[in-house]
Amino acid sequence: MSDSLALLLVPALPLAAFLLIFLVGRVYFPKFSGILGTVIMLATTVISMATAYKYFFVTGKVDGVYQHLIAFKFTWLPFSENVSIDMGAIMDPISMVMICVVTFISLMVHIYSLGYMKGEDRFAIYYSYLGLFTFSMLGLVLSTNIFQIYIFWELVGVSSFLLIGYYFDKPSAVAASKKAFIVTRFADAGFLIGILVLSYYTGTLDFETMIARLTVPGSELTAITTAGFLGVSALTWGLMLVFMGGAGKSAMFPLHIWLPDAMEGPTPVSALIHAATMVVAGVYLVARLFPIFAISCPVGLDVVAYIGVFSSMFAAIIACTQTDIKRVLAYSTMSQIGYMMFALGVAGYGGENGLGFTASFFHLFTHAMFKALLFLGAGAVIHYVHSNDMRDMGGLRKHMPVTHIAFLIACLAIAGVPGFAGFFSKEEILTAAHNSNPIIYWCAIATAALTAFYMFRLYFNIFWNKEYHAHHSDSHHGDDHHHGEAPWSMKAPLIILALLSIATGYIPFGNFVSSDGQALHSEFHLTSAILPVSLAIGAIIVAMLFYRKKNAVPDKIAGTIKGVYTGALHKFYIDELYLFVTKKLIFGIGGTIAAWFDKNVVDGVVNFSATVGENFSDTLKKMQNGKVQSYAMYFFTGVLGFVLLFVFLWDKF
């Protein structure tokens, strides 16, 4: 199979699954749709793995450097001679890694959902949406053109919208889906303007051409750096606006507010979209444009780094206080993406400087595994308990042993305990940060400790703490508790992912992904690992002390740092602030003014002129009093008027 055909099939198969299930399957074989989707997904996964394998080990490397290959490309929407939106597929290390991650996690979720979503009314729709999402995500990562990425960017946005709003009769789900879409849409508007800025100066939308023109000194680079607005060069504006899009999708502060709410969607969806794939699109986007950032716009990269690290810490603090297990995971996701983001931010182009780049993708890769695992595990728990709140849980380790072990592995991985995947990737990031920026480094260390703490807070609260008693008061959920832990379709992905959460750490990632395509051999410094690891283990111990058995310590501590605690519990009131600014200020006032203006001024003028016309008409009507003598008077007045005007006044003009 040729590369172009393979890469055409990779997004096309999920699309076919979507169309098939949405148009046909929904009506004719709703039950079978899940299997169908899963089979197609399996095929896609196999093809993409094979393609990636071929790329990494056979065709991709020329003279020790991984090439950017274009598998296929055609003009989709020509704007002018040179500028056009092309649809195509690019083959380079990051896109290959991404298609593997996306297809694999998607496959896991497909399998998992067979059990998790069983019996749902809109089972077929669910699978069709999964197909749509997978298609969009694959299209996104394979983009050769910045506008192509924008197109798929929007499509993943909408599939995320559809999946979050899957339980459409739940107002909270609807609200969450709207919020997710609108917030990312806002970010995308920035992205769009960024594209316009970049394409205007480079005269292209093609990634490779654009990167070439903006990294090698030339007329375009001169033009874009000299042009500016508000004292910032057009290049920085463009990149920052593009990054705004990335930040929106990757839930970076301050555009993160949608992510926790997005947990209203079905849990497997959260695993797929809001943990492993879509939310890392921002990281992918920055990575895609990395040469421009690194070579021509280091300021931009700094912004990326600081926003990344801030988001990371910010989210970690909030995660320590949340009780909804999915929200804890959501904040943890945000925190981990912040890690990836600042890893990119601290990286440079080429050689050892590019460690951050590699580390970022390494972390992206491992994070996809263990975070998906965490979500799927949480899903299994929720499936069992029928609640998202960790206060309803406790002592579940006996009830669901497989989930317990898998979840523990994932927690260990994310906490960065040596031997698990997360350890390796996190160490690389920390090394990269250490090499470049001490502030970021120390923040990252602190975050790592917090990560370990809240993850184990979660873990202990779910599986230890008090003994589990089913809440029979919750009557309509009552009888479901007889079904045991979970069906195999749910357990199998947990097991596979648990294994991978350990195994993926041992991949020599630098060999494959690096900022300039050349293999990067990072050395593992034991000394630098001591501090974060010990902090992590310390945090785990603290969490164990706090939450293994039910006790009053956490509350006491919360009491002593009341301000911070309440703030974090309420997510530092960012949501409220946004709500106020958007709903009250912008939409409220703007909308009210516009509507008022429309009703009273624009419409008012029209109606007023009608009224004036009618009044004028009424006045005129009074001339007509029905008396022939007054008519004669008007007549004669008219004659006199003309006489006055033309006989006496005419010459005066």
């Binding site: 008409s617 009507k621 007054s630 004669a632 007549f635 008219g638 006489v643 005007l645 006989v647």
Partner: protein, 471 residues
Amino acid sequence: MDMNFFILMKPELLLTGLIFIIMFAKIANLAENNGRFLILVNTLLVLNFVAGFFMNQEGTLFSGMYITSDSMAFEKNILNGGMMLISLMAYDWMMRCKNTPEYYMLLLSAQLGMFFLISSGNFLMFYLAMELATIPLAALSNFDLDRPKSSEAAFKSIMSSAFASAIMLFGLSLMYGTTGTLDFAEMQMLVTGSSLQVLAFIFVFAGIAFKLSLVPFHLWTADVYEGSPVPVTATLAVISKATFIFVFMSTMFTVFANFFMVWDKVVMISIIATITIGNFMAVRQTNLKRVLAFSSIAQMGYLLLGVASTSVQGASSVLYFMLIYVFSSVAIFAVVGLIFYQTGKEDVADLRGFYKNNKLLSWVMAVALFSLAGIPPTAGFFGKYFLLTSGAAKGDYIVLTVAILNMIVSLYYYLRIVKAMFIDKSENDFERISVSPIVTVSIVVCIAGVLLTGMSGEVYEQIKSLFLASN
């Protein structure tokens, strides 16, 4: 008297003949049977109309007192046609009338006056013809003898027109005093533009403007239209207007040609006042006939645009529009008459729910109204467009703007009628109006005219050639 006399005066002689035939019919008691009499008259009118197309010559008679030209012959044909259509459309009403022969005698006398008016080459002839065209119509306004409104209309008509023509006559006397002649051609040479002549001109203008219902000489119009029997209203609104606009045009182009600087301005002011006030007056009227009266006032303003342009194109546009106006108005008055004489309803609001039982009549009315409003594909669109074009050719963009903006106002009250018929619901159904075949013929001809006159460019070309030939 040679043959020339008969050929040149053919339209007038035919009319006179008609009047005599009717008179004999009356005397010979042939008119006892209304139906037979009406068939006779209508047949004669049709023949008269057809005869108008043959053997037309240009020339003058009575040492310039009587002039005829192709365009005049065409104008007379329009009048003949209009008269015929009105007569046909009034058939149902006539059938119930008592004094049909008198009606026709008066009507045709008035028409005879109009013919002479059109052909007059001398102010004596002009004055005589004008009175002949006015007085019988005033008498006709009173034709519904028992309806107080009818006699009031007649009273207003005769009084106002007597007053107006007296003032005009005063102007004429002054014209005579300053030039020493009454002949159009001679007077044209002698017009100098002195103040006295301007004064005289304004008096004369007022007299004609009265007939055309230009603002502020228009106030009689609505009352007379409302009170008169519908066919008479139609005659006033259509035939009389058509005559006087033509006469106005020919006098302005000939006698007062050297007076252009003055009358141009006078006419411009009149146009603005007429169109604006005419339209706005119509906006709040409730009586259908009054709405139409004011609409006809406004239409005159548009016609003046063509006159004021003093070009061949303007003149032919005027004639063209007049033709279309005849078709549209007769169709409207036909429907209005049917409604009025069968149900007694004459308010716009009374038309509510009209469409339900009178589908075709509603469409007829709507199409004719759209023609007046200047909405394609009706001919009124073309007519108005050409008038505006000729106005624009002259470059009076202010007047043009007023005229064009007023089209919106006019659309409003036309649509009000359409709305009442088609859209508004009424509690009790509007009864079905019966239409006799002869009336149907009239309506069909009118609607065909409304739809076809514009779509085929031929008609306009034909009219244009009349003026090109005579210039």
